[in-house]
Symmetry: C2
Subunit: 396 residues, 2 copies
Amino acid sequence: MTYSLICTKCKTIYIKEPVYKCEKCGGIIDIEYKPDGAEFRKDNAEGVFKYSKLLPVSLDQNTSLGEGETPLIKSSFLSKETGIREVWLKNEGCNPSGSFKDRASAVAISKCRQWGMDTAVIASSGNASGSAAAYCARYNVKLVVLVPERTPENKIAQALAHDPTVVKVKGAYSNSFRMAKELAEEFGWFNITSTFINPYVREGYKTIAYELFYGLKKAPDWIIIPVGAGPIFAAVYKAFFEMKSLGLVDKIPRLVCVQAKRCSPIAGAFLNEESVNAWEGSEPTIASGINDDLNGYTEDGDYTIDCIKAFDGTAVVLEEDEILKSILQLGQEGIYAEPAGAVGAGALIKLKQEKTIKENESAVIIVTGNGLKNPQPIKDKKLPVIDSIEEFNELI
Amino acid sequence: MTYSLICTKCKTIYIKEPVYKCEKCGGIIDIEYKPDGAEFRKDNAEGVFKYSKLLPVSLDQNTSLGEGETPLIKSSFLSKETGIREVWLKNEGCNPSGSFKDRASAVAISKCRQWGMDTAVIASSGNASGSAAAYCARYNVKLVVLVPERTPENKIAQALAHDPTVVKVKGAYSNSFRMAKELAEEFGWFNITSTFINPYVREGYKTIAYELFYGLKKAPDWIIIPVGAGPIFAAVYKAFFEMKSLGLVDKIPRLVCVQAKRCSPIAGAFLNEESVNAWEGSEPTIASGINDDLNGYTEDGDYTIDCIKAFDGTAVVLEEDEILKSILQLGQEGIYAEPAGAVGAGALIKLKQEKTIKENESAVIIVTGNGLKNPQPIKDKKLPVIDSIEEFNELI
């Protein structure tokens, strides 16, 4: 819990807070902890604050809504389908707002309160704003949500239920992203936009990895993660790195970055051994939660690739029909996932076919978001209509 | 875990299983436990199986998806609004399928497997079928879902993701309900329709009460519960009755049954001191999860009224605008609830205004389902569109 801010590139250390990007070289800021005697997990703390030993929070600024401790289910269907004996599914859709973003919100809003900041700003029309709005409402932090002009109202119904200030910004997401930075600077608000811009946000995601260790009592061989810009990816990597430093695990899992083929600036660049460019796809993927073109922050993608490479990870891209199939595959596991949250299933199957993952290895799939957020109608399914038990008998 | 089936009316005891209604008098069947030495809560068991001491399950037929252990949040907004110092919110929307029904499914599907039954049948187009479909898929039980003919496909998208057999039945819900009974009889399938017809289903709901006791270390003064037919209501009552018998709590909380004015066969009958009749409303309530007319099973409503009266509980009915307001009130608590799940907020405010609940009493609101299931667009909210930080400044 004693920590410092450090640039991942030039290693400059910052004393003041918050710092979004290195003021010397523009590098991504990370948080480093000084080991202390605190327990790794405080059973009686709420939500992600159980892991406050490795979070930049003070327990008296607990802003939990009961996030985390999400189910870790042993796979039946995918395990049979691939022959991989040990497949686990981490169901992040059970978080209070239905996605892994709640882990970030809990940490970020805790910092707001600790610093006495009364307002946060976020550029997001998806899971991140729905989550931030819930935490801000409960813990009395004002929130300004910036969404692209063409965002349909039903997409932000969840955020609106918590009554933040929502403003539409003309043009593409990159304009909302830029304006969040400007407003944070102008008014001294906390910018909690969920990219690599805010190191505290990323720290919250680390708790997924701590829970995996706590549930499995080991580091799995593989962890498969849906990726937009990659803060969750970098966070899981960092968490295992920290646990290895503490002697809790003896290795760092190999991490798999999954993207939709229709928007794969990171996975595509990794597989083609190129550096990351802003994506220029004509048609968006149904996996809207990871439909991130990185326009204006391609360096985030490069950092995610560094994390893939650090311990011999890999990347997978999925076609749209493979994403739909992934939803049904997780359906057979009893999990209802939004398209972006489901892609790990299809990635596991691909990696087994390619013989990258072996039958005797263990793999965890992170299911990042709830299917209720973005229900996909099952097409071509004509439901029969009956009027009697005789008509039912004729069906079967 | 050693238990017997007993008629709540004529007290006939049954040895064979399953029994849906008393074969002598048609009464509702309940489950009674023989006290044994098992711990009240097994920390290392999964989901609701932590409370197997008071459930009709054997641990080797664990069919958990990580249900239960839902957040219990201390209220800020409603507590300030009413002056009631201790208000708690139990957020059942964090269950795997997004509602409290998962507790029932875990127990019911466990019984299916224990008995070697390969198929279950359910009449439901809402939360119950979405939940049952998930558990059946994961634990290899076939499921037949019966829905009224006019059910829109998007309402059953969640269930369809788990690929059960879905059949539309002509006419109103009562026809689907009747056909589920007929099919269960004809084919020997387990009827897990979520009314009072299946005592095992109801047992699962009891775990909400066990968790309240475990979280609060006491029985609260009041528990406020949204009610369709009332199995959850009867279950919470039964659970506290059992805990009192075991000496864990010293009283049974006063229970509040909340219904929408547009469909209030139980709350209305209680308040008018009448017996329950099938509801004949012309317009359905937006609280679809509790829009139950009881057509064909009004005796369920009478049983729920018995449970209200047993320990001096009461009932509240809410207008549609009060239900919408309840959603926004819970939004201020950081909880996103579906309309049926939100009604406890409005009920608390009413009961404080009526001076039924006092400032120094403790109250728990059960939020039964996730707002993502049934998002209500926030009306009359015209979002401003801006293009620059100057335009933002003009807004404020």
